[in-house]
């Protein structure tokens, strides 16, 4: 699928074997915070959102896990627009997305016309792309997971990642207080040894009111800021309060951005695993 490669031949990505993906979830915490399933679309797109139920103070780990799982219904359907701005071109995509549990998701481009029908499927541990122009489905090699998705500032990995932050990162509260008049927590997430992740660390700000994320900053291994994701326009969707706009900005090109906007979002819809088949990936319906 897309690698928005600027000249460089191959962007080596994090190599995740299916086994590692599986193992990465072995630390799951039990109990009421446990995910019930559902990766709604680009989990990482959504970053993490939060259940309005739990408002009392918890450990850093619990808060992050709740924010991380806000959007996890058993299943979901969403309509999204993605506006990409780069120094060389601007484009806008309309997308439909379906998800079921943590293992299955499907994203299809609805417009522009030239690319309509182009789709990405995650089923079990594999990622497939469908290219309507040549009428072929291709399996994405793991080396391409760090490549750009459809020219956006999201990587393929962002779109299909299903492991949870609490599985891969050690979490501590770095700041607890007021920023610009808003009561917030700021968390520092440092990868656990051998966690199959690309980031050196992540900083995460969560607004205490409503327990909604405000921004996430991603750093590389030398502590350099790589990109910032901001969350805004919190609204009720699918009977949950969620941020409906996510903006990602690469740190080295601040004039570039990808803005993801949710127009429709429904949880617990009627989908089963058969829906996430290669046949359906091609069918376009």
């Amino acid at each position: 699928m897309v690698l928005h490669i600027r000249g460089a031949p191959v962007i080596p990505g994090p190599v995740r074997t299916p086994g590692e993906l599986w193992d990465s979830r072995r630390h799951r915490i039990p109990g009421r915070f446990r995910a019930r399933g559902g990766l709604v679309i680009p989990l990482a797109l959504l970053g993490c959102l939060f259940s309005p139920l739990a408002a009392h103070a918890q450990s850093a780990r619990e808060i992050i896990d709740r924010v991380d799982q806000l959007m996890r219904g058993e299943s979901s359907i969403a309509r999204i627009t993605m506006d990409i701005q780069t120094e060389n071109w601007d484009r806008s995509l309309t997308l439909s997305a379906w998800s079921l549990g943590t293992e299955h998701s499907l994203i299809r481009v609805e417009s522009p016309q030239k690319e309509a029908g182009t789709a990405t499927l995650r089923a079990d541990q594999e990622v497939w792309n469908y290219l309507p122009r040549v009428d072929r489905t291709l399996k994405l090699p793991s080396s391409m997971m760090a490549g750009s998705w459809m020219g956006s500032h999201f990587t393929n990995d962002d779109l299909v990642k299903e492991s949870r932050l609490v599985d891969d990162y050690g979490i501590e509260i770095e700041f607890d207080g007021t920023r610009d008049g808003v009561d917030v927590w700021e968390f520092l997430l440092v990868p656990l040894p051998e966690a199959p992740v690309v980031w050196g660390k992540i900083r995460y700000q969560v607004s205490k009111e409503g327990l909604l994320p405000t921004w996430t900053r991603y750093y590389d291994e030398s502590d350099e800021l790589i990109r910032t994701m901001t969350f805004s326009e919190n609204r009720m969707m699918g009977s949950r309060l969620v941020p409906t706009v996510m903006t990602i900005r690469p740190a080295d090109k601040p004039e570039e951005s990808t803005v993801v906007r949710y127009h429709e979002l429904e949880f617990d819809v009627d989908l089963d695993e058969d829906y996430f088949s290669l046949r359906n990936l091609r069918s376009g319906r």
Binding site: M1, V2, H4, G7, N129, R133, R136, G151
Partner: protein, 422 residues
Amino acid sequence: MDDRWIWWRLAWRNLWRNQRRTFITASALAFGYLASVTMIGLWNGLLTEMIETGTNLVTGQLQIHAPDYYPERSMYATLGGREGIDVDELVRLTRDTEGIVAASPRVYGGGLVSTGDETVAGLFIGVDPDREVEVTRLLQTPVEGRAPKAGEREILIGRGMADILDVGPGAEVVLVAAASDGSLGNDLYRVSGVFETGSAGLDRSFAILPIRSLQELMVMPENRIHEVAAAVEEPFAAPALGDSLAVAVAAHGLDYPVAPRPWTVFRAELAEYASLAGAVNGIVVGIIFIMAVFGVANTMLLGTFERRREFAVVRALGTEPRSVVLTVVYEGFILGVIALAAGVLISVPVLYWLHNYPPDLSNLFGDFTMSGSVVRPVLRAEYSLDGPIYAAVALLITSILSALYPAYRAVKILPADALADT
């Protein structure tokens, strides 16, 4: 009679007093010269071979890009920027530069090659098949099938990639690449052939297609290219040629800047190796002649010892010590000139032979790799002017140096003792 040449004449006469000894001493120096010159020639031959095999496979010896192309190699950093250029004009201008033998335009892209079941990441090189063959060996010897044809949606892939995809000539593959308008370029291509370079990384990731086909895949107009690759006559002239080409482009009224990139930059390790080899040459030549110094000094010492009574006589007659020293040093110098003449006489045919009919040791050794370049074990000497000149200077210095100690001994002879000692 003119006295000025008296010490030279004496030196000359002394040389021929013992012809056999002079002949043997001169031979030692002459063969030292032959050894030095041959060794430098062979080294240069090996270096040239290394540079050629290291550059004529993919890169060429000189590349021309837009100034902002490196180090990011962004697909947007084309020559002439967004407006593009008259590609034919730049290629022609490059080829017409004195010292450049061929030039070829190129477009690069990164993406995926897929059969559906198997997908691999590839580096796409878009080339003009007709011009590319003059610059590199890239298209010359597919092990299966043939090179892609201009205007066709065909692709030449490496052995490693072909094995992963399990395809051969005639198979259909999907190419996917980021396009310049932000979309996802994808299309069907036919595998025209499979190449094998011996470099695993290259054979697994490089894919070559006609330049226009790659531009279409990446939604780029025909007048936007990333590179002009050139082959030069004399590899070590590449940096200077690049500079003069940049000047020529400006002088020709082309309104875009170009950044030349010679192999000494993109294969810096080869260039470093070449300069290291130059230093090693100097050391080895030095060693050869230092050994010669002792041999020659030894025979000259014998010669002065034999003549110590004569020296005693001339000293007793009032000759200055300086003149005695001079005559011995002159003797050494003349010996050096004779040896040099002989050395050149024997070196020329040997070098000619090694250059034109180099012994091929492939049967004994097979190819080997040096600094990442595959080198054939062929003992081919390259001519150069500086090698023989350095060796000649070294030889003359040697002959003078080896005369110094005997000259000192000659001066130290006490006339009374030498004459008394019968």
